[in-house]
Every structure is written in structure tokens, then in C-alpha cells.
């Protein structure tokens, strides 16, 4: 997928703009609060059907105006040109059309421009809590496997049911209720545990499967960006004991773990083990990146994960995503910045923001520079 041009009116501080893009590398440069992220946000609207920064669409309309519009011309990987239009009025009225034909709603536009976006907060992927990494695995697996998505939904549903039951038992224990009641609760827990073990095993299997595709892609990308820094390794971390000797199935192991944890769960009033507590371990060479990696390495690893996700989804969907990277170069040394730039323009159409032109230093390669000043865009070819 290639974005050929964008025509924007009243999108935040971008009052009126007409830009033709490079098919390889678009370097968006400007001082603080000039509108760089706003431009990425506008492009990303065509992927998400809404802003990645806010759910209040009124915020997107330029101060003092009543509506905004965006018109994007693109080219699919199979060589078909298309245009997408998007309009938003204050108060929420939305119009969307593809090749001039009105679409019933904004949601129809979702995914028309497959894209990956990396914003500063996304470094959490490698340095933050496990929830972000679970979401990463789940999102990627769900994109390529509908059965995974139904296992995941059913697992979450069963987990919610079990937790409510545990809460109730917690209350009953406090009130010292009839033990006969307790027996019936135990029988119910048995049933929910069996359900949780079945769906949970599906979730774990789906995550492992997707990791087996994502891991080599991430390793390759990371090695190109940071040669000599060591191998980036991804592996699944199970929160429950999978058992060594007898090698039980994941389902049996989870079932045993739930039974073992039952007393503790009953006291706490929620389920303390299972796929909802699992994680993805990220190693660099043989050290745990999250605990021992430098900030720069973590950032690169997070970018590699995002790009690997794009590769895997692209492989199964056969359309190259557009890559949007917000403010990543300011944190990279110039040699690394050049390698990242080379890697990007060799594979994807990319849009990269930075406060300083000098961040790319003397990197070779084509592409264009888009200067952003107080919402006004001007294009120049890089020397």
C-alpha cells in the first residue's frame, strides 16, 4: 500500500494542506507543537476509522471551524489506484466515501490503509508491564486467526464468571455460611475451571503459534537496526507451572494450577493464574531486556516488535502496511538512525517525524522532507 497524496482542511492546526508523498521515506520535520503528530494522526485516521490520540472527534476540527475533511489518494500493492474521503462535522456527523461512492459509516474505512504506528509511549511494549505484551500477542494472533479470537473472548468470559463466583465465596466465608452451600460452590468451580482450562489452552497455543512467526521477523529487523547488539529473542512465559517430568498438556497443567490456586483465589476473590497473567519474555543475547536493557535498546526492540507485527500480518494479508513513527530519532545515535531509515525505506512507505533535520545527519537514500510550521506543510527533496 502506498499513500500518494493527502489533501487536508481544518484538521487540527493543519488548516489547508496538499502534499504529495514519497513512496519510500517521508521525513516530517518541525519544532515543538507545529503539527507533526497531527499529520501522522490524519493519515492514521484511514486505518483506525478514528484518531489514535482521542475519542472526541470534535477535538480534531480546527479551532473556530465547523468541519474538517481529508482526501487521500493511494495505490494498492496490486497497482490499483483509489481515493478515500473523510469528513467530520462538529457534533459528530461523519461522511466517508471510497472512489466517490458513499460508505455507510466510518467503520467501513477501518483497515483500508493498513498501517503500523509507533508513538513515544509505545516503548512500554518492551519496558512496561506484561499487559501491553499480552495485548500485542492477542492483537496479532486475532488479526490472522479467527478461532483464536473466539477462544480469547470465551476465555475472558469464563474468567469473569469464575471471578464473580470467587467474590461471592469470599463474602460467604466471611459470614461463615452453611457448608452445604460451599459444596455446591466447589462443584461450580470445578465446572468453570474445566472451561477455563480448555479455552485457556487455546489462548496459549494461539499466542505461541503467533510468536513462532513474529520472533524470527523481529530478530531479523532488530539485527538490521542494531548489528552486533545481540540476538533479539522472544519467548512465551507461562504464569503457571507447565510441569516437567510427565509433560502434561497445557490444558491439564492449567487445570492443575487452577486447583492448586483455588484456596488463595477464594481468599483474594479473583483468579491469580492463567493466560491472563502470562507474558512474553524479550531477551537480548542471554539477558532479560526488560530488566537489564538500556533505554535505547528497549526502544529499538519495541520498534522491531511493531514492524515484525506488520510483517506477519502483511504476509497473511498480502498488502504492505504504511509505517508511521513519531519522534523516534531524537533518542537514537546517528549511525542507528541511518540504519533504521535504510531498513524502512527498503521495505515500506514510511512517515517519520523529528524536531531536527540534523537527526538524519548524512544518511544516504532518497525520500523527501516535509517541513511543518504552525500547521503549514512545505515539501523539499533531500539533497
Amino acid at each position: 500500500m502506498i499513500v500518494k497524496s493527502l489533501h487536508a482542511g481544518n484538521f487540527r492546526n493543519i488548516r489547508s494542506a496538499d502534499v504529495e508523498f514519497s513512496e519510500t521515506f517521508n521525513f516530517i520535520v518541525g519544532g515543538n507543537a507545529q503539527g507533526k503528530t497531527n499529520l501522522l494522526e490524519a493519515l492514521h485516521m484511514f486505518s483506525l476509522g478514528r484518531s489514535f490520540r482521542t475519542r472526541r472527534s470534535d477535538e480534531l476540527i480546527a479551532f473556530g471551524e465547523d468541519f474538517l475533511f481529508l482526501k487521500l489518494r493511494g495505490l494498492s500493492d496490486s497497482g490499483v489506484g483509489f481515493t478515500l474521503d473523510l469528513g467530520l462535522e462538529r457534533g459528530g456527523r461523519v461522511t466517508a466515501s471510497a472512489n466517490g461512492g458513499r460508505l455507510p459509516g466510518l467503520s467501513e474505512i477501518i483497515g483500508m490503509i493498513p498501517s503500523v504506528i509507533f508513538a513515544p509511549g509505545d516503548v512500554e511494549l518492551s519496558s512496561g508491564p506484561p499487559a501491553g505484551r499480552r495485548l500485542y500477542m492477542d492483537y496479532t494472533a486475532a488479526q490472522v486467526s479467527p478461532p483464536f479470537l473466539s477462544d480469547l473472548k470465551e476465555y475472558r468470559r469464563a474468567l469473569g464468571q469464575r471471578n464473580v463466583l470467587l467474590k461471592r465465596m469470599q463474602g460467604e466465608a466471611r459470614e461463615r455460611r452453611d457448608p452445604e452451600d460451599g459444596r455446591s460452590r466447589r462443584a461450580q468451580l470445578d465446572a468453570w475451571d474445566a472451561m477455563l482450562a480448555e479455552k485457556g489452552a487455546g489462548v496459549v497455543a494461539g499466542r505461541r503459534e503467533i510468536l513462532s512467526a513474529v520472533a524470527p521477523a523481529a530478530r531479523g529487523i532488530f539485527a538490521e537496526m542494531a548489528p552486533g547488539a545481540g540476538d533479539l529473542g522472544l519467548s512465551y512465559h507461562c504464569s503457571f507451572d507447565e510441569g516437567e517430568g510427565g509433560r502434561p498438556s497445557v490444558r491439564e497443567a492449567l487445570s492443575a494450577a487452577l486447583l492448586r490456586g483455588r484456596e488463595a483465589d477464594r481468599r483474594k476473590g479473583f483468579t491469580g493464574t492463567g493466560p491472563h497473567c502470562d507474558d512474553m519474555t524479550i531477551r537480548l543475547g542471554d539477558v532479560d531486556l526488560r530488566r537489564f536493557g538500556s533505554q535505547g535498546r528497549k526502544r529499538l526492540a519495541a520498534i522491531a516488535l511493531k514492524l515484525a507485527q506488520a510483517e506477519v500480518i502483511m504476509e497473511r494479508r498480502s498488502e504492505r502496511p504504511v509505517v508511521l513513527l513519531d519522534d523516534i530519532f531524537s533518542e537514537l545515535d546517528s549511525a542507528t538512525a541511518c540504519r533504521v531509515r535504510g531498513l524502512l525505506s527498503g521495505r515500506y512507505q514510511s512517515f517519520v517525524t523529528s524536531p531536527k533535520l540534523s537527526d538524519l545527519g548524512e544518511c544516504p537514500g532518497g525520500g523527501i522532507v516535509i517541513k511543518v510550521e504552525n500547521g503549514a506543510l512545505s515539501t523539499g527533496v533531500r539533497a
Partner: protein, 199 residues
Amino acid sequence: MKYGLPLLQALVEHFRKLPGVGEKTARRLAFAVLDMEDGEVRNFAETLLQVKEKIGFCNRCGNLAESDICSICADRSRTEGVLCVVERPADIYVLEGSGQYRGRYHVLHGVLSPLDGIGPEDLNIESLRERVAVEGIREIIIATNPSVEGDTTSLYISRMLKDSDVKLTRPARGIPLGSSLEFVDRGTISKALEGREPI
């Protein structure tokens, strides 16, 4: 919509409360009532009242019944010793429609769902254990809906009966995941019943 006719308006509102009936259909139904013969309308109204008054649940299986025992439990030609467990009485009529099944039923009147405050004590589940002992049940088909709650209820029942010699089965593939029995066509149901598998 205003008619300047509060009674007609009220009738339209009543029809609208029925499932699958929108404003337009409700209006058509109301006008149809106006066109009916007096006697027919009286009959209709009387039936509505009687349905609520006289129809209760079968003492044995929980199906709808006009006396203590429903017509299926009373039917001597039904296969003895085989039960099909369903969530609601409406499910029985779907299964009967397939014309395939000749055993009797057991209606749970719901499924396990702590989120909705429903446990085994709120369902017609304990009596199933008694029926197994008293009626000499050999086989039970658990036809709860293929939802997380339906599946878990099925697991609960199979655990509850694991020490009996009853053969437990669950209708196999064919019933789309997450769909409720009521909306599945007959062919699919007979196929699913044929291919039922042990739990």
C-alpha cells in the same frame, strides 16, 4: 404516531412489546383486530388470559404443561431411559420440529452464570440427579446452547453424574458457535443430534 384514539394506541403499544414486532407491524396487527368478528376477539382475549392462568411447568421435566405432567412425559410411546437436557421450554419445540428425537426432556430454565447471580440452586438441576435414579435413565444428551455458560453447565452436569452409569453426550458440530438453539434450522439440528459425541 397519534391516532386521537387512546385505546387503539394502547393496543399498538402492546403488540410492539412482542419480539420481532416493530411499529408498522404492530399497527397492522391492531387494525386486523379491529376487523375481527366480536366472538373471535372475545376468544382471543380469553385465550390470552387462560394461557397465563393455566399453563405451568411439568412436575417431572420442567416443560410447559397444562396439567401436572406435560404431554411429552405423558406420552407412552416415547423411548424410555433417554433424556435431552435443554435450557428453555422453547428449545423443546425446536428439537421436536426435527422429528428425530424420541426420548424425553429435562428443562433447566437457564444456565450457570455467576455474573447474573445464577447458580445450580436457581436451576432445575438437582432434580436431574433424582430422575436418573428413579427413572432408570441410560442416556442423557446435553443440548444446552454452545455458549461459554451453556458449555460450562454441560460440564457441571457431567461431573454431577459421573458416578452414575449414564451415558452422557453432547450434540456434535453443526450448531454454529454462539448461536442459540432457537435460531438453528431443522436440518442442522438433526445432523447435530446424529453426530453427538460422548463428553
